[in-house]
């Protein structure tokens, strides 16, 4: 990794919601062009880590660099797929309209989305196989279809670095494979992707890098050498496990 500016660099991030720290002194370097998973038990702070990298949660300490620069100057490089449950799907809007929202920041103030935005959005919908549902009200989509709409909205952002929070939650195998295909395609085109993932059985198949997280960053690196049974046990083994890691020095 020497000499290459990491796509994402997180230095000593600590986040606490009330008194308890949710993330403790997390360091992370994501090399450009990798498809990286964040893995850890429920409540490990995966969503919180994404949000603090994106500046949606204010960390108590620590800094974030996107391609060597502070986030505020690099917003345009970022695409985001939030957890599906984070919005009200009964909102009066259509799938196409939601996808066009991905173009709003590029449009700038006072400009309305027009023909070009519509075309880009239709292309994105086609890539996720949702052309037929463009004009559906979003509550009339299944969970997997909603997830595809969110992905299309991120695609239309045409970003260099993507953040996805549990894109496979509640989707069937077909949709999961379709989404993975798109993520890999993005990686082939040199994009960097950081994805919260839950299913350890598909970890090696889908991803090339991984961060094991449980309040602390347990380990990060290529999947094959990082997601070892011992390391996973340490990640999922609860509090005593990472105290052990502390005593044993760096893993």
């Amino acid at each position: 990794m020497d000499g290459v500016t990491p796509a994402i660099r997180v230095e000593d991030i600590t986040v606490a919601y009330r008194e308890n720290p949710v993330l403790w002194d997390v360091d992370l370097e994501v090399p450009p062009g990798v498809l990286m998973a964040i893995v850890g038990p429920n409540g490990a702070g995966k969503t919180t880590l994404l949000k603090s990298i994106l500046g949606l949660v204010r960390p108590a300490a620590g800094r974030v660099f996107i391609k060597g620069e502070p986030l505020s100057r690099q917003r345009r490089l970022i695409g985001y797929v939030p957890q599906r449950s984070s919005v009200d799907w009964d909102f009066p809007t259509t799938a196409l309209d939601v996808v066009m929202m991905g173009r709003y920041s590029e449009l700038g103030w006072f400009r309305r989305p027009g023909k070009r935005e519509r075309e880009l959005a239709m292309q994105a919908l086609e890539r996720v196989g949702m052309t037929d549902f463009a004009n559906r009200q979003i509550s009339q989509l299944s969970g997997g279809q909603q997830q595809r709409v969110f992905l299309a909205r991120a695609l239309v952002q045409d970003s260099e670095i993507y953040f996805l929070d549990e894109p496979f939650a509640g989707v069937d195998v077909t949709t999961e494979k379709a989404i993975v295909g798109i993520l890999k395609e993005l990686r082939e085109r040199g994009r960097t992707l950081l994805v919260v993932h839950h299913d350890l059985s598909t970890l090696a198949e889908y991803f090339d890098w991984v961060l094991l997280l449980n309040v602390r960053a347990i380990a990060a690196g290529p999947v094959a050498t990082t997601a070892t049974p011992e390391m996973l046990a340490m990640t999922y083994g609860g509090r005593s496990a990472y105290l052990m890691k502390q005593e044993g020095g760096d893993g």
């Binding site: 949000k51 500046g55 970022i78 919005v87 909102f91 009066p92 309305r112």
Partner: protein
């Protein structure tokens, strides 16, 4: 209609109606955002919290200038909103409790100040008590102009930041991730909602104003799945309520405007909830019944077909009770529908039924269609 004609030709009445229409439109349109952002209760707290602002503004300035009173209402309405979020952030109280506290404390203070104001020698002229339940007929031309000015300002602002407001209402996290100043936009939108409430206070009153924010919006939501349409319809329903209220209360003495406006808005909402084509309860119920009937007729048709499938005479009559053997119970009403459709006919006096030629074809089609999928 003579009375109405006279009413409409009266300049004062026309002015008042214009004011009520515009404040109704603004409240209805911005109410949609309050509704979608789950701020309906906040609207109630804001309107109650505005009362002390109105009274204190009058007490300090000694004038009934609408702009001064609106500023007072705006200030204390805003203070109320800030307090609600401060309470939820720094204590363990949930938002609804915080809203309840702010609403009642501010309203209480407002009533006390109102009593003080009424004791003042100039109080008769002020007539601030109309701010409780609203009275459109107390509106002067300058009140109406103030409403028009602020209402239009609200709507223009809404149009200018339309796509941003839409985005932060649907997905604030995503909005913030793209670098939009989400907090600032959120504050601006809330301010517009406060403003829409405040300009209606004189006509509708602090007690009921939030209903004019929520009811037209809820009605409008029933009719469309496009935000723009919902907002325009919300505005329209609000304006209709405003005009209707102003007209009714002008034509009948001692009829307060606020309650009438709110009653009209509520009736509109009730009708919308019951009758709206796609989301209404009644059409929904009818669709449900119709689809159950359709499925039922198809199942019976298929069962009859199976009974006669291997029969050399497929039109041989059968006892409807024979259907029970295949686990189906043919209700008389369902059979009647099938007779109407010409698929089945009664044959003989025993109440037996048999497939018609059309029914036989339909059954084959129905079974074939299922096999194909």
């Amino acid at each position: 209609m003579d009375g109405l004609g006279a009413l409409l030709s009266d300049y004062t009445v026309r002015t008042v109606m214009l004011g009520c229409a515009l404040l109704g439109f603004t409240a209805g349109a911005l109410g949609v955002f309050a509704l979608l952002r789950r701020q309906s209760l906040l609207g109630d707290a804001i309107s109650h919290a505005a009362l002390p602002g109105v009274a204190i503004a009058f007490l300090l300035s000694g004038s009934r200038d609408p702009l001064v009173l609106v500023l007072g209402a705006l200030a204390s309405g805003w203070l109320g909103t800030l307090l609600v979020s401060a309470i939820t952030r720094s204590t363990r109280l949930r938002e609804d409790s915080a809203l309840g506290i702010v609403l009642s404390v501010f309203f209480g203070i407002g009533l006390v100040v109102l009593v003080i104001v009424n004791r003042l020698p100039s109080a008769g002229k002020a007539g601030l008590s109309t701010f409780l339940f609203g009275n459109a007929s107390t509106m002067l031309t300058r009140d109406v102009w103030t409403i028009c000015l602020l209402g239009l300002a609200c709507l223009i602002c809404l149009a200018l930041f339309w796509k941003e407001f839409k985005l932060i209402s649907f997905d604030p996290q995503f909005a913030a991730s793209t670098g939009l100043p989400e907090r600032m936009l959120d504050t601006t939108l809330t301010t517009l909602i406060v403003l829409a409430i405040v300009i209606g206070l004189q006509a509708v009153g602090v007690v009921l104003m939030s209903a004019l924010v929520v009811a037209p919006a809820a009605a409008a939501r029933q009719f469309s799945d496009k935000l723009l349409n919902v907002v325009l319809l919300g505005g329209l329903f609000g304006a209709m309520s405003g005009i209707g209220g102003a007209m009714l209360s002008a034509s009948m003495e001692k009829l307060p405007t606020g309650p009438v406006i709110v009653v009209i808005a509520s009736v509109l909402t009730l009708l919308a909830i019951l009758l709206a084509p796609h989301r209404g309860l009644l059409p929904d119920w009818f669709r449900h019944v119709a689809s159950r009937r359709r499925i039922e007729t198809q199942r019976i048709l298929q069962a009859l077909y199976r009974l006669v499938e291997s029969d050399p005479d497929p039109f041989r009559p059968h006892d409807p009770n024979a259907l029970q053997a295949v686990g189906l119970k043919a209700a008389r009403s369902t059979l009647a529908v099938m007779v109407d459709l010409g698929w089945v006919e009664y044959s003989g006096e025993r109440g037996w039924i048999r497939l018609t030629e059309a029914g036989w074809q339909e059954a084959r089609r129905s079974i074939g269609g299922e096999a194909a999928t």
